[in-house]
């Protein structure tokens, strides 16, 4: 079980690192946002969702897609502009979706995914699917009006939405604490009548429990919940970020806290054989290398199709 978690997190980490390599070598172009260090939130939260449920993420959404079961090859292919990409390369790193896997898309407009998730829950109320929606966004997105409106809208109509705020302490290059007077962001949800909790995002169990309760209450028609998961990104905001904003020693501390290092320590402490632990990383990397190679071998999407699907 814990080894499965480790493997699941390694899959995301390995995917992100492979994407980074492809970006640095130039096979992938454009701005790319990695989720290294935040894998536990996606893995634990998605473990509590059912296929019918809808996830709305941000440009930092590769890990959430993987955790939802989107095939890595289709993600690599998407970022590589291949016809096998989940959107044939139209979405790219920051804006792809795979509805067939319950992954209803990244969004590159900060905060914009929250109201859309509310709509998915609204549909769930009428289509008998029992669907609930989970939308994840960052600490900085809490200052975007769209998120405040979405939370009140869901609260007023007790819609089944789980609002997950991945608080990684930075909004791009700026510390969230410099941009708010009240650092406890979860209070904003409470003030709207939404049950809210703050959890250690590096602790899979805490995120699982918080998400399970949120999903249960949403599914039971008791309305939205809010989960503030404290986490950290151990890479730049985007590939190429010089990260000059980090105080000395912070990254070192974060590398201790981050969920893969943490779970690895736990497993070894529990006496799980080193090989078993190491195999998770090896297996994940092998899978991602294979997926990337397959995607690289796939054909580029034909430019002749570039105008398709603008209208129904």
């Amino acid at each position: 079980m814990k080894l499965d978690d480790l493997l699941a997190m390694w899959r995301i980490r390995a995917l992100e690192e492979k994407i980074r390599d492809l970006r640095l070598e130039g096979s992938i172009v454009g701005s790319v946002h990695l989720s290294n260090g935040q894998e536990s939130v996606a893995v634990a939260a998605c473990s509590q969702l059912r296929p019918v449920d809808a996830v709305y993420a941000t440009y930092r959404g590769h890990g959430w897609a993987v955790a939802r079961g989107v095939p890595p090859r289709e993600i690599f292919a998407e970022l590589l502009g291949r016809v096998t990409g989940v959107n044939g390369g139209r979405g790219g790193s920051a804006h792809f979706s795979a509805p067939q896997h319950g992954f209803h898309g990244e969004n590159s407009i900060v905060g914009a995914g929250a109201p859309i998730a509310v709509g998915a829950a609204l549909a769930g109320r009428f289509d008998g699917s029992g669907r609930i929606a989970l939308t994840v966004f960052g600490d900085g997105a809490m200052n975007q009006g769209a998120v405040a409106e979405a939370m009140n809208f869901a609260a007023a109509f007790s819609l089944g939405v789980v609002f997950v705020c991945e608080n990684n302490r930075y909004s791009e290059l700026t510390p969230i604490d410099d941009m708010v007077a009240q650092p406890d962001l979860s209070r904003r949800a409470t003030a709207l009548g939404i049950p809210a909790v703050r959890v250690d995002g590096n602790d899979l169990a805490q995120v699982r429990t918080a998400t399970r309760l949120a999903v249960e209450s949403a599914a039971a028609g008791r309305g939205p919940s809010f989960v503030e998961a404290h986490t950290q990104r151990i890479v730049g905001h985007y590939i190429g970020d010089a990260e000059q904003y980090r105080p000395a020693g912070e990254l070192e501390r974060d590398l201790e806290l981050e969920p893969i290092a943490r779970l690895t320590r736990e497993l070894l402490a529990e006496g799980v054989p080193t090989e078993a632990v190491a195999r998770c990383e090896e297996r994940a990397r092998a899978e991602m290398d294979a997926a990337a190679d397959a995607a690289l071998a796939d054909p580029l999407t034909d430019p002749a199709t570039a105008k398709d699907h603008l209208y129904a």
């Binding site: 959107n87 859309i116 109509f157």
Partner: protein
């Protein structure tokens, strides 16, 4: 089975909403004050009573309203959202341009956003600058968004139903000065037509007027005055702006050789420019230079006498037509 009933524009919109809610269980109708109060213009009166929870009032949160429509639509609902004034859409323009317009295209057709935004625009005596704009041109520069602008009771009924049935995000722009207008015979219950097309309001040989929106009645007044003097004019009301019936306009101008475009929106950057540009690009032979009558680029003052000095009037259309026809008359 189709029947004829007497309805004003407000009644026609109400009838179309009722039919959509009746025949399409996947429709939802919501907006500020639309349910229990029946809408600030009374246009959705009775629908909450009749259709219950599918018709509801919302907080004053246009971004949440439109975002919720995008999400619900991608799951098979057909939300009909009222944005009370088109001016208010600007607090939530992201959800139209960056969200709704992208769903189908970016997902390569795997999902879509079949939502309808019902709104209304235009100047009315005493309305302030933030409640008077005609903003269709902003939407017409956004690939992926359909736009309709009904004026008569029949079109208000028909176009709204076509919009709701359409699988693209569609904005239906009404005009509050028309809701309480005179009743007219409206065929209801007929087949829902596909989107697109125009209305040929007058037929003539001397000039073509392309127009949309409430100002159309001023155009007809001006045209009728000229008709009395023996000048015959083709008047095309473009009730659908996207898709736009380019063939009809090209065909008419090809016959008349003269073009006047009239809209209430600001001249510069208005969609009239697109119409004039397409005609110019088409190379069709013109007997005189094309013209536009539109808002004389300005904000809109509240005082009626000030607004009237800036907005297109019947006299402006008339004199524009006279010079247009005088041009190349030889």
């Amino acid at each position: 089975m189709p029947e004829i009933v007497k309805l004003n524009v407000g009644g026609a919109v109400n009838a179309a909403l009722a039919r959509a809610l009746e025949e399409m269980p996947e429709t939802l109708l919501y907006g500020e004050d639309v349910a229990k109060p029946g809408g600030v213009f009374g246009v959705s009166r009775g629908l909450h009573k009749r259709f219950g929870d599918r018709v509801f009032d919302t907080p004053i949160s246009e971004t949440a309203m439109l975002g919720a429509a995008v999400g619900a639509a991608s799951f098979g609902r057909r939300p009909i959202v009222e944005i009370m004034w088109i001016d208010f859409s600007l607090v939530a323009f992201d959800q139209i341009v960056n969200q709704a317009a992208n769903v189908r295209y970016v997902s390569a057709g795997r999902t879509g956003a079949p939502l309808t935004i019902r709104t209304q625009q235009g100047s009315a005596p005493g309305s302030c600058a933030q409640h008077s704009q005609n903003l269709e041109a902003l939407l017409l520069h956004v690939p992926g968004i359909r736009v309709a602008m009904p004026r008569t009771p029949q079109d208000s009924y028909d176009l709204l139903l076509s919009a709701v049935a359409c699988d693209d995000p569609t904005v239906v722009i009404e005009n509050r000065t028309l809701y309480a207008g005179p009743k007219d015979a409206v065929e209801v219950g007929g087949p829902v037509r596909p989107i697109g097309g125009h209305r040929q309001l007058r037929s003539g040989a001397d000039a073509t007027v392309v127009v949309w929106g409430a100002v159309t009645t001023k155009v007809l007044d001006a045209v009728d005055r000229l008709e009395a003097e023996g000048t015959s004019v083709d008047v095309l009301e473009m009730v659908w702006l996207n898709p736009f019936d380019w063939d009809a306009v090209l065909d008419s101008v090809g016959r008349t050789g003269r073009l006047l475009v009239v809209h209430e929106a600001a001249r510069t950057g208005g969609f009239g420019a697109e119409v004039v540009a397409r005609i110019a690009e088409s190379g069709v032979a013109l007997r005189s230079a094309p013209r536009r009558v539109a808002l004389d680029d300005s904000r809109i003052p509240s005082a009626p006498q000030l607004a009237a000095a800036l907005l297109p009037q019947t006299a402006d259309v008339e004199s524009a037509l006279r010079s247009l026809v005088a041009g190349g008359a030889e």
